[in-house]
């Protein structure tokens, strides 16, 4: 899957999870920048991403993702 396609799909998932249609993603975006992105919504988000891209994360991988850029990188390595 192309990087732009991943970013587009991911943006949809984010907008739906955080209920914010104006939310845009950038590589250096972190949980601190988004309203309501806490440890509760985080796991809902992860579940939704797995459904959208039909992939599975490992718990260890989650600990290593600190920014949206890391997340996109991880998704890319799993879909292609």
């Amino acid at each position: 899957m192309e990087l732009t396609a991943i970013t587009d799909n991911l943006t949809n998932v984010f907008q739906k999870t955080f209920d914010d249609t104006e939310l845009t993603l950038s590589d250096d975006l972190t949980a601190g920048d988004v309203d309501n992105w806490d440890s509760l919504t985080h796991m809902v988000l992860i579940g939704e991403i797995e459904k959208e891209f039909n992939i599975k994360f490992k718990l260890k991988e989650l600990n290593k993702m600190n920014t949206v850029g890391d997340l996109i990188g991880m998704i890319k390595s799993k879909v292609s």
Partner: protein
Amino acid sequence: MVFTSLNFLIFFPAVILLFYLTPSRFRWLTLLISSYFFYLNIEPVFGILTAAITISTYIFTRLIDRAEKDSKKSVLMYINVIIILLPLFFFKYFSALNDGVFTILEAYNIRWALPKITFLLPVGISYYTFMAIGYTVDVYNEEMKAEKNIGIVALFISFFPLILSGPIERATNMIPQFKSELKLNPSNFKTGLQLILWGYFMKLVVADRLAIYIDVVYGNLEYHNGNSILLASILYPIQIYGDLGGYSLIAIGVSKVLGLNVMPNFERPFFATSMAVFWRRWHISLIKWLTDYVYTPLAFTYRKYGIWGIVLALMITFVLSGIWHAATLSFLVWGFLQGIFLSIEALLNKRRSRFVKKYKLMTSTIYIFLSIFFTYILFAVSEVFIRAETIEDAILVFKKIAFERGVIFLDLTTLAYGFIGSIILFMSEFREEYFPKKLLFFKNGNVLVRFASYLFVSLLILWIGILNGGQFIYFKF
């Protein structure tokens, strides 16, 4: 040896002096010896426990590092976690289990009476057990390499400022610091002493003073009316905050003087506008620990159930948190309540955000005030179960608050002094929360203002502090 004891006021300067006299590459050893001296002074036999936990953790973390297959690493990790949890279970839950079995046996009249054995709970055990577990899991998760010097691991588990009540620190933060070149420096000294002074203020002026009123009321619930019980219940969260918050500041300050940075344990919790925010500001080190090692793995396992999976993980985590404090029905109820509050909030989160956006409440003073007020009340309600100790007493408290009016019991000196302390604490936190750069006292650039503030707080401690007061509440956990 307690932070508020005279012994500590001799011990700590002695440690600083020894630390200063030791060549910097052996300073960790000075800290280790001081830590064991500190802990053995409480009860010599407890030292065996910290040493055993250290040895087990040292061996298993090294083995985890060396193992190649993930399955083997995971087995080793679980074995160590179980080994170090055994003493905690034994000391903390043995009597609860024992009493439970006896009650059942007695109910069927088959109890064979033997002398009852009770064990003294090794103070601090819940804290250093959690720190050792965290370290083991971090090595398993490859967040850090296993430490090769057993002395450093021993220091991490026994470090005297933290051993009795936390903050529950992480090996990833502490071990590299213990291994670095440890130095005394004036700026750390200053910041550390400021934290210690404020910590003593919170404990001696606020917590121990309020405790007098609360203990009188809660100690005789039958004789007090609903109004007095309501006042005591409203004040109790402030007492607990002064107690554990004050303790934490002293622990962080003592570490800071020695050049070590320890994570904060509280961040103005009573300005939280929701329970979720509250739990990010209250007993932070415990909640972070639970989030990383209990909640996240659980929520990850249940993630396919969406928000309901989160709710389940939350409930289990907070019930465990309750039981971590003590194996009583009251703490179980307390844990359930926190789980329920947070779950309801999580389920209503989207609606609340939309509501706030629609009516532009983000900056509304009334909305913020009401949110803070309700969060405080919810927490105070849950704390009734802890202060009342038994469920029957907690129910009595709520019944009396709801139905029994009367003349409020006023112990004027205690309340007046308690309010002076609480209001100064509140104003200081209010300033820090909303105007962090303004009206500085301890951090003022002017040396006169700084010293006047130190003098003022010191005098307050001597004037209205309870200097012969009791233990820190969280030692018993």
